[in-house]
Subunit: 119 residues, 2 copies
DNA sequence: CTAGAACTTGACACTGATGTCAGTTTCAAG
DNA sequence: CTTGAAACTGACATCAGTGTCAAGTTCTAG
């Protein structure tokens, strides 16, 4: 499929999809005229990438991580190096802290909302 | 206490504390010479502010939210307007989606980490 | 009184993903 | 062919919190 369809199906802008390619996150074949041609699996991959961005990982870490993930179709094509594992473990902890923050903030919002809606 | 101590005790930079004041998030008395003087309660407040920032709220929303929160010492000094409640409910949903993203990403990281560490 | 630590304001830089615009080229249907 | 939709590259803008530096002022211990 081409970039417009991929954008539509994932809800990610074309701009971002090109950026992902630039960052080595998302490969694409090219038509003879130079247009990007994505395989079906790209949809899943883009969703994964978005999740990881939303989780606060930067593109370079995502780039190192992606080859080690088991894809929708088939096992991982690489195993994480010790260095990467260390990095990911740190990200994991950061994510845990973030979740804790979010839960506390959600609690705070709920209190204010409930108070305003009359308990 | 003064800004240096508050920064030390909260782990937030002096720069950020001044920014919070500029944004109307954190009031401070002034010494005759112009130095900021914070009450003890500022520590809790700064922690709350940081949590809300970490949860992805922007300073203007935090500014509107803060007066409606029950502080460490005493009840809220205001009740949220309907407009604010609507905003906060939207933020709440965004937070829920973010938490879901984080959980999925954490799962992904765990898979890669476990695979590298030999299952 | 004095030295040095701590504080003040103001300004500019950065980050990093994404938006947007311009000018050109390719694709696909009639 | 022609034509309009879709895609290409490249460049510059944005956002918002934070870092950092400079030049000057205040505070406090000795």
């Amino acid at each position: 499929m081409r970039i417009g369809e991929l954008a539509r199906r994932t809800g990610v802008s074309e701009r971002s999809l090109r950026y992902y390619e630039e960052q080595g996150l998302l490969a694409a074949e090219r038509t003879p005229g130079g247009h990007r041609e994505y395989p079906e699996a790209a949809v899943d991959r883009v969703v994964r990438i978005q999740e990881l961005f939303a989780a606060g990982l930067c593109s370079s870490k995502i780039a190192r991580l992606l080859p080690c993930m088991r894809d929708a179709d088939g096992g991982p094509s690489a195993v994480a190096t010790p260095k990467l594992v260390e990095d990911l473990a740190a990200e994991r902890e950061r994510i845990d802290r973030t979740i804790a923050d979010l839960l506390r903030s959600r609690e705070t919002l709920d209190e204010v909302i409930d108070a305003a809606r009359g308990r």
